[in-house]
Structure formats: structure tokens, C-alpha cells
């Protein structure tokens, strides 16, 4: 067993530097690596390019990095819930690259799978395809998209073991499973870290080979963005 365990977020992210590109898992606020984001804020690394489906809200998730102006460029598919983001984008402080969600996911997956580029129909005929190669396959038009190149991929899982194997829970799997292994260094934080051998190999979602460092997170807030319920009869 190759042991991937590190003590905490500080150790896991010790070599993150200014101006690096960092993938951050999660969808909305669900499944975001809360401890790692807090550590990036703490480290005060600047000029980051963040690849994440969303940009958090003003006071949580990637919004915390935006508040401290640590992000130079945001690559996302939807950034709707963040007033500070909007302010920085409109003032030109923040560069934004909007990417169709499925394309964003596949650009991560392609990096994870060692595929430099792929063709997708998403965005053909729209401004997303401007400047990109297009090609016809079987009578339909596609746009070529390239795999991301990231220095770090930071993901959050439900359970993990010291070998770096990951199990996700519910829809918190989202981009986390596509980003694991998609950066030069993948850091995984988990709600529960167990010794190797305790997780059933049949149930592993992401094998540990994709994970360079793993640590058990703490104090998960797991904030809900849109609390929707129905009344009990």
C-alpha cells in the first residue's frame, strides 16, 4: 500500500504557489472541499486560475477566495449566486471564461484520462465555438475542446482510505470524480479517513492512483444553497 495520508490541509497544499491553475470540485456548494478552500485563503496565494463549475456564494466556497482577490481568472459554467463575483467581473478585475457544463466536465475527464482534446456538439454555432476548430461527424457539427492543464486538482469525498481510494455520497460526487487525477497533484479531503483495507474495493469510485495526498477534513458546514422542502401531512 502506498500511503497518501497527510495530516491536514496545510500539509496537503504546502506547495501551492501564486499564479497556479487549480481545479476545485463541487456543484454549487455541494461537495466543495471546504477545508482546502479555507487553507488557500489562509495561505493567501494570489493570481490563481480556478476551474470550478460555480464560484461559490459571497461568504462561502470559492467566494472566500474572491473576497480576498486571490483569483485572477475563473473558469466556470454558471456563476449566478455571487455579488462580489459580479462586481469584480464587471470592473474587469476578474477574468471569466464561461464554459458549457458538460464541456467543462469532459475537459476535466479528458485530462484525467490522458486525452488532449475531443469533439462535442455543445456550443456549435454560438460564441463558445469562436476561434475553435469545428468538424462534421456523421452529418452533425462538433467543436474541438482541449483537456485542462491544472497544477492542482482539489476534490472532496465522503470516505477515503490511506491508499487514496475515494467514495462519494449522493450528488456530491459531481465534478469531484472528474477532477481527481486531472491535475498534476490531486489533493483529496474526506469526511472520514480509514486505514487501507477497510473500504470494500468493489465500492471504490476513484482508485487511489489518482490521488497524491489525502487528509481527513474537519468542521464541515455543508451549507445548503436552496433549501426546498415539503410539509409533512
Amino acid at each position: 500500500m502506498i500511503n497518501k495520508k497527510v495530516a491536514n490541509a496545510q500539509e496537503a497544499l504546502k506547495d501551492v504557489q501564486d499564479h497556479q491553475t487549480i481545479m476545485v470540485g463541487g456543484f454549487g456548494l455541494s461537495g466543495i472541499p471546504e477545508n482546502s478552500i479555507a487553507e488557500l485563503v489562509n495561505k493567501n496565494v494570489k493570481g490563481l486560475t480556478c476551474i470550478s463549475n460555480n464560484a461559490g456564494v459571497d461568504d462561502f466556497g470559492l467566494g472566500l477566495l474572491l473576497q480576498k482577490r486571490q483569483v485572477k481568472k475563473m473558469i466556470a459554467s454558471y456563476v449566478g449566486e455571487n455579488a462580489e463575483f459580479e462586481r469584480q467581473m464587471l470592473s474587469g478585475e476578474l477574468e471569466v471564461e464561461l464554459t458549457p457544463q458538460g464541456t467543462l466536465a469532459e475537459k476535466c475527464r479528458a485530462a484525467q484520462a490522458g486525452i488532449p482534446a475531443f469533439f462535442t456538439p455543445a456550443g456549435y454555432g454560438t460564441e463558445v465555438a469562436e476561434g475553435k476548430e469545428t468538424r462534421e461527424f456523421n452529418g452533425k457539427m462538433y467543436v474541438m475542446e482541449e483537456a485542462y492543464q491544472a497544477d492542482f486538482a482539489i476534490v472532496k469525498a465522503w470516505k477515503g482510505d490511506e491508499a487514496g481510494n475515494l467514495i462519494f455520497r449522493g450528488t456530491a460526487r459531481n465534478f469531484n470524480a472528474c477532477m481527481a487525477g486531472a491535475g498534476k497533484i490531486t489533493v483529496a479531503e474526506v469526511e472520514e479517513l480509514v486505514p487501507a483495507g477497510e473500504l470494500d474495493p468493489n465500492q471504490i469510485h476513484i482508485p487511489g492512483i489518482y490521488v497524491k495526498r489525502i487528509f481527513q477534513g474537519s468542521n464541515y458546514e455543508k451549507r445548503i444553497e436552496q433549501r426546498t422542502v415539503r410539509k409533512r401531512d
Binding site: G31, V79, G80, P100, G102, Y124, T171, N174, A177
Partner: protein, 218 residues
């Protein structure tokens, strides 16, 4: 009388077929889930990674790890599955999902759709809309026929930045059901009490009108 949002959702629910996997967009499309005909098995996909989406949880049962693409807390039904975002859009692109229902700011008679960006305004992003419209074989748009200023949103050509080209198959508005044909919009049905003239007046695009246009039934 023009339909309200619930009326539009109810009419779209009539397009569901037994055994369909369906992706519902945010807004009116979400309401369609409330009007699935009885004895019909339909499974809802949400692109953040779930098939077999159920109703909202009871108060106190909300789970931050179980949400839909609108970031709302949800439940799952027997037979549900979770998966990652790449697989989710994989099943959308490979047309495993039978029907996509989404909203729009504009649609054009060639099937173009615009629903993500208004120049000069804050752009929030396209989310999964571009993937959905470029991939789905069967796309129904739920939208209002005219904007608040009374201008038609059913156009010869979209004026806003496009989300997808030549992809819309059917449009259900508060006034009418329209089919996108190679020759343009064909008027299929009118809302109860709405006249064909009223629909023509509310439509900038040309309408193909053949014979008597029936009223929608629910």
C-alpha cells in the same frame, strides 16, 4: 385566455411518454414533474448527477449531498442512481435522455434558441443548457410568447447570443403550441379561448396555419 405557468407545464406534461428519461430545466419546466400522468413511468435526470429524482424532502430531511441542478434539496425514488458530471453529460450527449424541457428568452423559426445571455447585463453563464440543446433529439421549450414590453419572443431570427442552433422541436407558450418544421413554425394548438389572430399578432415569425387549429386539451 392565455395559460399561466402551471397551464404551460400541464400541457407539456402531455408530451411525456411511458419509459421516458427526462431532463427538466429551471423554472416552468420544473413544474412539469408535478403533472406526470398516472400509470406512467418517467424518470427525471438532473445534470449534476442523479437519475430518479423525487419530490422535495420533508422538513428536517434535507440533505446537502442530495440536490438537483437548481441546487435545491431533493429526494430520490426507488431505482435512482448517482453519477459524476462527466457521465451525466455523457448520457445527455449520447441521447440516452429522451426529452429535454427548458426555458428560453427567444426561439427562431429555424429552431435556434437563445436563453443564456443578454448583452450589457450580468452574464451568469450557460450552465448545462448548451450541452442539452446541442445533444438532445427531442427538445421542448416552455416560454412566454411575448416579453414584458409586449414584444414577440417567437422570431424569424434570434437577436440574442445563441445557446444552440437548429435544435428546438416544439414550443409551448401561454398562447399556443408550435412545431418547428423545415419551413418554419407550424401552429398546432391554441390556448383555450385564444384566437388564431391573437397568436399571429403575438408572433414575429411567420406561422404555418393549416385548417382549423384545435384548442389545447389537458
Amino acid at each position: 385566455m392565455a395559460l399561466d405557468k402551471i397551464g404551460i407545464a400541464k400541457r407539456i406534461a402531455k408530451e411525456l411518454k411511458d419509459g421516458y428519461y427526462v431532463n427538466l430545466g429551471i423554472g416552468i419546466p420544473t413544474l412539469v414533474a408535478n403533472y406526470v400522468p398516472e400509470n406512467m413511468s418517467v424518470e427525471f435526470q438532473s445534470e449534476n448527477g442523479v437519475l430518479g429524482m423525487g419530490p422535495f424532502p420533508f422538513e428536517g430531511d434535507e440533505d446537502p449531498d442530495i440536490i438537483n441542478a437548481g441546487k435545491q434539496t431533493i429526494t430520490t425514488l426507488p431505482g435512482a442512481a448517482f453519477f459524476d458530471s462527466a457521465m451525466s453529460f455523457g448520457m445527455i450527449r449520447s441521447q440516452q435522455v429522451d426529452l429535454t424541457i427548458l426555458g428560453a428568452m427567444e426561439v427562431a423559426e429555424n429552431g435556434d434558441i437563445a436563453n443564456w445571455k443578454i448583452p450589457g447585463k450580468m452574464v451568469k453563464g450557460m450552465g448545462g443548457a448548451m450541452d442539452l440543446v446541442a445533444s438532445a433529439e427531442n427538445i421542448i421549450v416552455a416560454m412566454m410568447h411575448v416579453n414584458k414590453a409586449g414584444e414577440s419572443k417567437i422570431l424569424k431570427k434570434c437577436t440574442l447570443p445563441l445557446t444552440g442552433v437548429g435544435c428546438v422541436k416544439k414550443v409551448v407558450t401561454e398562447l399556443a403550441v408550435l412545431e418547428v418544421t423545415p419551413n418554419g413554425f407550424k401552429l398546432l394548438e391554441r390556448a383555450p379561448g385564444v384566437t388564431v389572430d391573437e397568436i399571429i399578432k403575438a408572433t414575429e415569425a411567420n406561422l404555418i396555419i393549416e385548417g382549423t387549429i384545435p384548442e389545447m386539451s389537458f
